[in-house]
Symmetry: C2
Subunit: 298 residues, 2 copies
């Protein structure tokens, strides 16, 4: 036995090192991806669902956050909501990310689904070869959320569908305003960051007036947030027709117009975050927007 | 044939609907998870690596961000860095998340690996059944990063190892200070959020003095950030011995002590973020800390 061992050690071919296991990508814990066919839109989307830590054991229902531009925003929102729960005592939530349409670029999908109109100023060129860029389908996309996404979430999860929160940024906030000014009770709280109110020569200002002409109330809770640097470049004067706009001034004007109607059912605040710009402000808007609505633990 | 068909349609058992595909979790694109054995620590960890969009085609090297508490911070950092590139023109980076030790709770792992000492005030109880909580191994964990993590990253990726960025928050910033006050040139930029300077009756203040006694320079770039609400509860007076501390005042004191030495190689700034607290400030610290170091595209 000894001799055999020694022989094996000295003369056998070297044993190859064990194969390294293949690399896997990073997976977000407690998340699920669901396919959803938008029947009226004839397109396929995905829902990214993040469940709170206590979900499996609590039996409770949770407020549910629907978030646009989810490829960027879903991982951020899930981490922020979890930290606000653990370290600041806010309620846990379910986060539902709304994907771009399957097979489409993010730009292509969001320009079509989040904008309320085809802009009179024209719009960006398509970044998908062979497909002309579409715009102005926010109304239809909003109906998809309300009539197809909501029932799926209500059926599959212990979501408190009386406490639905909308989160958008930039064009995503245009979609939020489209829903707000059509059926404000679609969501129970709207978190709207840096809305693109300059879009189509300020068309959402017209929509706001039209809503006011037809309604005496707007049952909604809104948190608007924007970075203080989202203003006009120095030396420029505002001109929506020429797309020289000051997003902070636009937001103050819009909020002022909403507030002037004194809708009894409307709660609305604006927060301007010092030193932040369009690229950096989203995590702040989300944090403060959630704080303005979610309850603290007892 | 016709008869057979008709018969089958009317009398066969109903065809079961196709099985729904199993749900998959949400995967972060362009990420890889690598196992790493910490040889000196006799423990296993993981590295979560996020590659920038241009990585596959550019052939370039990228600055590399090493981030603690990665289970929370990695998904956030990856999204923020990507957005700062796309919308604010900052350089792209590789993000490397430093996991907790395999099989350990986050609390257990970070208390041991991120704290510089065993606190004279005692420390939190272990949340792992049957295992007493360990503290004070930041020096050893820092050596693991420098001698085992760095070579792996340098070998596997086009990382510019002359542009390494450390990111920590809370206890994670204690680890950063431990490294800074031992081998400041370990990283080229330190982003340190809300450091737990109260830890062990302010031991990092003593370490700072000891470094100053032995050195004439500190070659380092540091961005400190903290929330304005991370102060003492009203009516309390500061007493580190009794763990009544004001983290904002502590940070200003610490930064003042560093600055007083006028180290020629040190660049250090403090930013206090209005209205933010320990639970909410991290995305801001990261955003401004990256901006203070990364270059803008031409």
């Amino acid at each position: 036995m000894m001799a055999l061992c020694a022989c094996a050690v000295t003369t056998a071919a070297p044993v190859p090192p064990p194969l390294a296991p293949p690399l896997v990508p990073y997976v977000l814990e407690n998340t699920e991806v669901r396919d959803i066919r938008a029947a009226a839109l004839h397109r396929d989307y995905q829902l990214f669902v993040a469940l709170p830590d206590s979900y499996a054991t609590s039996g409770r229902r949770y407020p549910v956050v629907f978030i646009t531009d989810a490829n960027y925003a879903f991982p951020v929102a899930r981490s922020i909501a979890s930290r606000l729960h653990k370290h600041a005592g806010l309620e846990e939530v379910i986060v539902v990310g709304l994907s771009y349409a399957n097979g489409e670029s993010g730009n292509y999908s969001r320009r079509r689904d989040y904008t309320p109109t085809v802009s009179r100023n024209g719009g960006d060129r398509s970044d998908m070869p062979g497909r002309q860029q579409a715009f102005g389908e926010a109304a239809a996309y909003g109906r998809f959320i309300a009539t197809e996404v909501f029932p799926l979430i209500a059926r599959q999860y212990r979501a408190d569908m009386d406490r639905k929160i909308f989160v958008g940024h930039s064009y995503g906030s245009l979609l939020g305003l489209q829903i707000l000014l059509t059926r404000p009770d679609t969501f129970d709280h709207y978190i709207l960051g840096s809305p693109s109110l300059w879009y189509d020569r300020g068309v959402m200002f017209d929509r706001e007036k039209a809503y006011a002409a037809g309604h005496r109330d707007m049952p909604a809770s809104i948190f608007f947030g924007i970075g203080s640097r989202e203003t006009l470049a120095p030396g420029k004067t505002r001109s929506r027709a020429e797309e020289r706009f000051d997003m902070v001034a636009d937001l103050r004007d819009f909020h002022g117009a909403l507030a002037a109607h004194r809708y009894p059912g409307l709660t609305s605040t604006v927060k301007v975050f010092a030193d932040e710009d369009h690229a950096s402000v989203f995590p702040l808007v989300l944090t403060h927007g959630l704080r303005s609505y979610l309850k603290r633990k007892q």
